[in-house]
């Protein structure tokens, strides 16, 4: 097939904070140091910049200030400065306030932001600096020459549901570059391809969490802008990692969410139901009663920390941001690390292109930059914290306290860790002889459709849209496993951990069940790719432009 190809000097996949920071940094170096102008291209699968990104989000502005010292004057959309911090431990009816806010959760000098808006603004800054942002184009596969990455093929457009070419078929474009930056986010599909091909995995397997977020408009006067609340405990049990958050934006709007570790044990645990239960807790219910849901979304987070970060470079390629696992799970922050790693990757890429050498040996300068920067200074001391939480909330909290004193030292270093999906226990082992029905949620909630909702209604509020007539972008390599083994062993947990009702087990008309994939509900969170106990799900990008619409998230 004839494919168009495009040659650029630096190709960046993913128009999030990491990719855009890299692009801006390269453009800055180019204008500081002069020389042949470089062509810098950013591929972004969302139709509009920022449409596929969401985060809590409390921004530590340190690295944004390094990238663009005058970000305030340039009109960066910072919704509110943090004014009050508090942390609560919740029981099913009560709340207990931590007498002092633990240092990692102190947010003085930080800002509550909509990451979607911040990214849209950063895209404008990048474009003004001469960067080409191709919105609506997903990176479908890496192009290799031997084991050297030479670019990315974008997804085909106009392919029908059964793989046939529709009248408007357009083959994807090969974008070729001496150096490619993978900033494709948590469990990015291209980073996944790279790690499958080259031995770059970190010392420990990555561990993920799933974050739910809703925006609510409240009656006036309930909570002052700049208020930050974090919760531990209910609706999660001590064996489940995670916590809730409430961030108060201006104009009586709040961001409300729950982060749940994707290393829970109970196969009938339902993360979406847990989020509904958080909203039923008196502390939250009283806040949102009479309010209006405005937006819903979900994303996965890489929480494993320092020892799970892969070797972030190879011939012709660098990895930055969530794609590389650069997130501080103790501080619940990753945006500043995405920006910082993007900048460092950008600097490394710029020098490599100027030197005409993008070999792994040259790009290893990226690791050195990371080691000498705030990235290591921030992540190394907390390198074992997430793994400690896998032993339970009490152990995790105790270790987190110890780590603050010992700078992370512990008798076992690294603290052993395993992939989250491997911790999922089979129904028979978890429940013994009396497991719940296969399709039951252990923590089911009957939605009242005022403050609690079913998944399908929530998906509507994510604004998700895809071209309907296209192949499923969720590839389950063996759907027989779903109806034979998984239903018996785990009760099809995909129907519970997917936050968007993509997966359903429906009657097969012969007395059994079969898997139905509602691909166009997908909010691109990657949880299925991460959490499937058999690891037979591949998330690949749908036709460019399709996906959630996270404006304001």
């Amino acid at each position: 097939m004839e494919r168009e190809s495009l040659d650029v000097d630096v190709l960046i996949v993913g128009g999030g904070p990491a990719g855009l920071a890299a692009a801006i940094r390269i453009a800055q170096l180019q204008s500081e140091r002069g020389g042949e102008p470089l062509s810098i291209a950013v591929l972004e699968k969302a139709r509009e910049p920022g449409a596929h990104i969401l985060s809590g989000a409390v921004l530590d502005p340190s690295s944004l200030g390094e990238l663009l010292p005058d970000f305030v004057e340039r009109g960066a959309p910072l919704a509110a400065e943090v004014r009050r911090d508090s942390v609560y431990f919740l029981t099913s009816r009560r709340r207990l306030r931590f007498p002092v806010t633990p240092p990692p959760l102190r947010n003085h000098g930080h800002y509550i932001v909509s990451l979607s808006r911040l990214v849209r603004w950063l895209t404008g800054q990048a474009e003004a600096a001469g960067v080409d942002v191709f919105a609506g184009f997903a990176g479908a596969e890496l192009l290799f020459d031997g084991n050297r990455v030479v670019g990315v093929r974008t997804g085909d457009r106009g392919v029908g549901r059964h793989g046939e070419h529709k009248p408007a078929f357009e083959p994807g474009v090969d974008v070729r570059a001496p150096v490619t930056l993978l900033c494709d986010g948590v469990r990015g599909n291209l980073t996944k391809q790279l790690l499958a091909r080259l031995p770059l995995e970190g010392r420990l397997p990555q561990v993920y969490a799933l974050g739910f977020k809703e925006l609510w408009d409240l009656p006036a006067g309930r909570v002052g802008a700049g208020t930050v609340v974090h919760t531990l405990g209910y609706p999660l049990r001590p064996e489940e990692f995670g916590g809730g958050f409430i961030y108060a934006l201006p104009d009586n709007r709040i961001a409300l969410g729950l982060v749940v570790g994707l290393d829970y044990r109970d196969p009938h645990f339902d993360p979406h139901a847990a989020f509904q239960r958080l909203k039923q807790h008196p502390m939250v219910a009283g806040l949102i009663e009479g309010g209006q849901l405005v937006k819903y979304g979900a994303k996965a987070l890489p929480e494993g920390g320092w020892y799970t970060i892969p070797t972030p470079y190879a011939d012709g390629v660098l990895i930055a941001g969530d794609a590389g696992g650069f997130l501080n799970s103790l501080r619940l922050k990753g945006i500043h690390l995405a920006i910082k790693t993007g900048m460092l990757a950008g600097e490394t890429a710029f020098e490599a292109v100027r030197a005409g050498d993008a070999s792994a040996g040259r790009l290893a300068a990226y690791r050195q930059r990371l080691d000498e920067s705030t990235v290591r200074r921030e992540l190394y001391p907390v390198r074992n914290v997430h793994q400690a939480f896998a032993s339970g909330l009490a152990t995790g909290l105790a270790y987190a306290g110890v780590a603050l004193l010992t700078r992370g030292w512990w008798f076992r270093d690294p603290w052993p860790g395993e992939a989250g999906h491997e911790r999922l226990v089979k129904r028979a082992d978890y429940y013994g002889s009396d497991p719940p029905p296969e399709d039951a949620s252990a923590n089911a909630v009957k939605p009242d459709r005022l403050t609690t909702f079913d998944r399908l209604t929530n998906v509507h509020y994510s604004g998700t849209r895809h071209e309907e007539d296209q192949p499923s972008h969720l590839i389950v390599h063996d759907t027989d496993i779903c109806r034979t083994r998984c239903i018996r062993e785990y009760g099809n947990p995909c129907t519970r951990y997917c936050p968007a009702q993509v997966y359903e087990m429906v009657d097969d008309g012969q007395g059994g069940k079969r898997l139905q994939i509602n691909a166009s509900n997908c909010v691109h969170c990657r949880t299925c790719d991460i959490m499937d106990p058999y690891q037979i799900v591949d998330w690949v990008p749908p036709e460019g432009g399709g996906g959630p619409q996270y404006e304001g998230m």
């Binding site: 009248p167 405005v294 399908l456 509507h460 604004g463 849209r465 895809h466 309907e468 007539d469 509602n518």
Partner: protein, 319 residues
């Protein structure tokens, strides 16, 4: 004066254009309509019966087949000559193709997908949905006229069209279209699916959902549709299963309809479906589950098994 850009194809005015005239009649006394194309006589004669001041026809060989450039060039000149306060267009696929370019060419603001228009003195308020219909925003334009607005299909009722006492003059208008100014070369129109249906034109719709259980049971819904003289439609799972073609899907990923009668069989009423049909005048729902959300928006609700209820209705209708 308000200028309505009406759409015609093969001599017929589409319903959405009549709705746009209704919208104009609601906010202004002086309304003119303009038609573009090749042979416009039959369409113009139909429009001339409405209560408007005049029907302008821009007939030019270069406009015979639709092109975005042709429409922008012609309408720019018509708007300059007529200097309307407001230009209203139906929010059709064709309008979506050229209207943003027209607004840019004129350097005028455009408010799209309006579901309501209001006037107080010289202030016109445009109501348009945001957040996928969750919020309605009232928009007031501060810039000087002319303004452009598109109206959502089905938001105004074509039946409410005020007719004039006698046909109004049809005024041919000449425009200059330079050679080479039209950059698109249109090919003959075609329908991608041979039997494509336009559910937005149906007065009655019978829609089926998961409650129908199997493809073989669709006959029962077809029976009701033919007894009612209605089109058959479906919620998403039915089309996903391939039991009905996708062009029969109602909802946020299908068509948005506003028929006089909408019969929902075995449809639970997920919000994705409801946004596509809540504008129906009379909604009848049949569902086994008394707590199904569809009953919240139904005018008539029947809690029962559709396999019992529907045959009874068919029998009653054909009695």
């Amino acid at each position: 004066m308000i200028l309505v850009v009406a759409e015609q194809r093969d001599g017929a005015i589409n319903k959405a254009s009549l709705e746009a005239v209704v919208a104009a009649q609601q906010v202004g006394d002086a309304v003119k309509a303009v038609l573009l194309g090749g042979d416009l006589e039959p369409a113009a004669a139909e429009l001339a019966r409405a209560r408007v001041e005049a029907v302008l026809t821009v007939s030019d060989p270069a406009l015979a087949a639709y092109t975005a450039d042709g429409h922008v060039i012609a309408l720019e000149q018509v708007i300059a000559a007529e200097s309307p306060e407001l230009v209203i267009l139906p929010h059709t696929y064709q309008t979506r193709d050229f209207a943003p370019a027209l607004a840019t060419r004129l350097g005028r603001p455009i408010v799209t997908d309006c579901v309501g228009l209001g006037r107080q003195g010289s202030t016109v308020t445009f109501t348009r949905p945001m957040f996928q219909g969750k919020v309605l925003a009232d928009v007031v334009i501060e810039a000087d006229p002319p303004w452009l607005a598109t109206v959502q299909v089905g938001a105004f009722k074509a039946e409410a069209l005020e007719q004039g006492s006698s046909p109004v003059p049809i005024v041919p208008v000449k425009v200059e279209i330079a050679d080479g100014a039209i950059r698109q070369r249109p090919e003959a129109p075609f329908r991608e699916a041979r039997q494509a249906v336009d559910l937005t034109r149906a007065d009655r719709i019978v829609a089926v959902g998961r409650g129908i259980k199997g493809e073989e049971h669709l006959e029962i819904a077809r029976g009701l549709a033919s007894a009612l003289g209605a089109e058959l439609a479906a919620s998403r799972p039915i089309c996903d299963n391939g039991w009905l073609p996708m062009d029969r899907q109602i909802g946020s990923s299908g068509q948005t309809v506003a028929p006089k009668l909408y019969v929902a069989l075995g449809i639970s009423g997920a919000i994705q479906h409801v946004v596509g049909m809540k504008g129906a005048k009379v909604i009848v729902a049949v569902n086994k589950d008394p707590e199904a959300p569809i009953f919240e928006i139904s005018d008539y609700g029947i809690v029962g098994d559709l396999f019992d209820v529907v045959p009874a209705i068919i029998k009653e209708l054909s009695a």
